[in-house]
């Protein structure tokens, strides 16, 4: 096994209060199906961490663990050094507002129009007047490059790229400290992929946000990543091997000697060769 070039992740050190999210030896199974095993990872404040890996290696599940939409079946998730499992439900709900989550298929509420979708979190917070909410909604929509006229449309009337941008505006409405992006460019054309990549960078330039991006898309990796972490499906891991097989910069990932990282970073060809033996 070639792990010579693996940059040790801070994942094995004790979590600190300066890390918005840390995972330590986390495992997750659904019934008999094990998705995550022995995953340790730290997200450093202010960085844009891109998680790559084959489909089914547990990237999206990891994001859901990070925001506590799912609980781990073993190991611990920490928010700013505090164990999530020890927090009360109310504390978790409150802290979760510090996260923004862009869902894979946008997950806009079908029965609400665009305005109500973006305003949802603001209304739930309950501390703003209607005029204030309208102002924030229009501001966020402008930030993602959408006109205020779109407000009265239902999600079903929008294209995939527009839905993604509305979902991004909704996730940004509460000014999150951590943005989690679940495959933000999947299913989009190359032009829209470029737009979304630029938006992810722009979001980060405008505010002191920490970002975690799950993607298969190499253009996203190149455009946004400060650090790349690669997860390997557990079926291919040695018994005691950690699931995050690589952590380093994009350049380091591109230069990696590990065939698994190289296969991913250089497209599918090497991966096919590996499968063929």
């Amino acid at each position: 096994m070639s792990t010579l070039d693996v940059i040790p992740d801070s994942g094995t050190a004790p979590p600190t209060a300066t890390e918005p999210v840390s995972l330590r030896t986390v495992g997750r199974r659904f019934g008999d199906h094990e998705v995550l095993r022995n995953l340790s990872l730290s997200v450093r404040r202010g960085e844009t961490l891109v998680m790559i890996g084959e489909s089914g290696c547990g990237k999206s599940v990891t994001l859901k663990l990070m925001i506590s939409l799912l609980d781990s079946t073993s190991g611990n998730v920490y928010w700013e050094g505090r164990r999530v499992a020890e927090l009360s439900r109310a504390e978790r709900d409150r802290h979760r507002l510090r996260f923004g989550y862009l869902f894979q298929n946008s997950a806009l509420f079908d029965s609400f129009d665009v305005f109500e979708n973006v305003a949802f979190g603001l209304r739930e917070a309950g501390d703003r007047g209607e005029a204030d909410i309208r102002e924030v909604v229009v501001e966020r929509l402008e930030e993602v490059g959408l006109e205020a006229e779109i407000c009265s449309k239902k999600p079903a009337e929008l294209s995939g790229g527009m839905r993604k941008r509305v979902a991004l505006a909704r996730a940004l409405a509460l000014e999150p400290a951590v943005m989690l992006y679940d495959e933000p460019t999947t299913g989009l054309d190359p032009v829209m992929t470029g737009v979304i990549n630029r938006l992810i960078c722009q979001v980060r330039r405008r505010r002191p946000v920490t970002s975690v991006v799950v993607t298969h898309d190499l253009s996203t990796v190149r455009a946004v990543a400060d650090r790349v972490v690669m997860l390997e499906p557990i079926s291919r891991l040695a018994a005691d091997e950690p699931q995050a097989i690589f952590s380093g910069t994009v350049a380091e990932a591109l230069a990696s000697n590990d065939p698994r990282v190289a296969a991913f970073m250089q497209g599918g060809g090497a991966s096919l060769e590996r499968e063929a033996g």
Binding site: L69, R96, A107, L108, F120, E124, L174
Partner: protein, 259 residues
């Protein structure tokens, strides 16, 4: 077997969660009104049509036996007692389970599959409070109204068919009906309907929330929700009927009873 026990436990936890949310906050007015419109106004046509037919069917089926005994004017009492105590509430509940319950399970199932339920949580809201409470309230509050509609149109249907097609004397038809149908019968039917409505909403929302992935999962949630609701309606009908009859006999021991 263990799975069954586990799902009963899950369902109970879910129901308590709904009760908790009912107590802790009021649903958004607009969402509640929209849901009530779909549940209430949307169900009226189908309840009216089925109610009329049930009333007429009772007349058709009961007439021969009563005619044979020369007591056809008493048919009104049988039709009306059956309607207000049993058929009206059960019919309204069945229609609600079929029309609204499965749609709720499918809608919430789709929301689960497309991560909209996760999105609600990620935005700091409680999905049970947002999605289940308005649906529960709409079913719980409106099913008595639908039951009254089913009772009324059934009574009218039975009466029209008996007097116009079967030539039963209208005056005696009503006289016998009044003698047999008590306010308690109507009340018992309405009490039962409230339980039916609550059960339908809880079962539908539970199956929607625990929907498996994909279109197949959503379809299955809708089907299972209807089947379970229907069984729950009949089981509740039996046990509540028993309970209400016992209560009635305890309150009025001097009155004759079938049991």
């Amino acid at each position: 077997m263990l799975d069954r026990v586990e799902s009963v436990g899950d369902f109970s936890m879910f129901a308590f969660g709904v009760l908790g949310q009912l107590v802790s906050g009021r649903p958004r007015r607009r969402v509640l009104l929209e849901t009530m419109y779909v549940v209430g106004v949307g169900s009226i046509p189908v309840v009216v049509v089925t109610g009329v037919f049930i009333g007429m069917v009772l007349a058709v089926q009961g007439y021969d036996s009563f005619h044979h005994l020369g007591m056809e004017t008493r048919i009104g009492s049988v039709i009306n007692v059956s309607l207000v105590k049993e058929l009206g509430p059960v019919l309204a509940a069945t229609m609600l389970a079929g029309r609204v319950g499965s749609a709720m399970a499918a809608e919430l199932g789709t929301m689960r599959v497309t991560e909209q339920i996760d999105a609600i949580r990620a935005l700091g809201a409680n999905p049970v409070g947002q999605l289940v409470v308005p649906r529960f309230l709409a079913c719980f509050l409106l099913i008595p109204v639908l039951t009254i509609v089913a009772d009324t149109v059934g009574i009218v249907g039975g009466w029209v068919f008996s007097t116009q097609a079967l030539d039963v004397n209208s005056h005696f038809y009503w006289a016998h009906s009044r003698a047999f149908v008590t306010a308690f019968d109507v009340f018992a039917g309405l009490i039962k309907s409230v339980f039916f409505g609550g059960a339908i909403a809880l079962v539908a929302c539970y199956h929607g929330f625990h929907c498996r992935a994909g279109a197949k999962g959503v379809g299955r949630a809708a089907t299972v929700s209807f089947v379970v609701s229907f069984v729950a309606i009949l089981a509740l009908d039996f046990f509540l009927g028993l309970l209400l009859n016992t209560t009635y006999r305890l309150a009025y021991p001097q009155l004759p009873s079938l049991l």
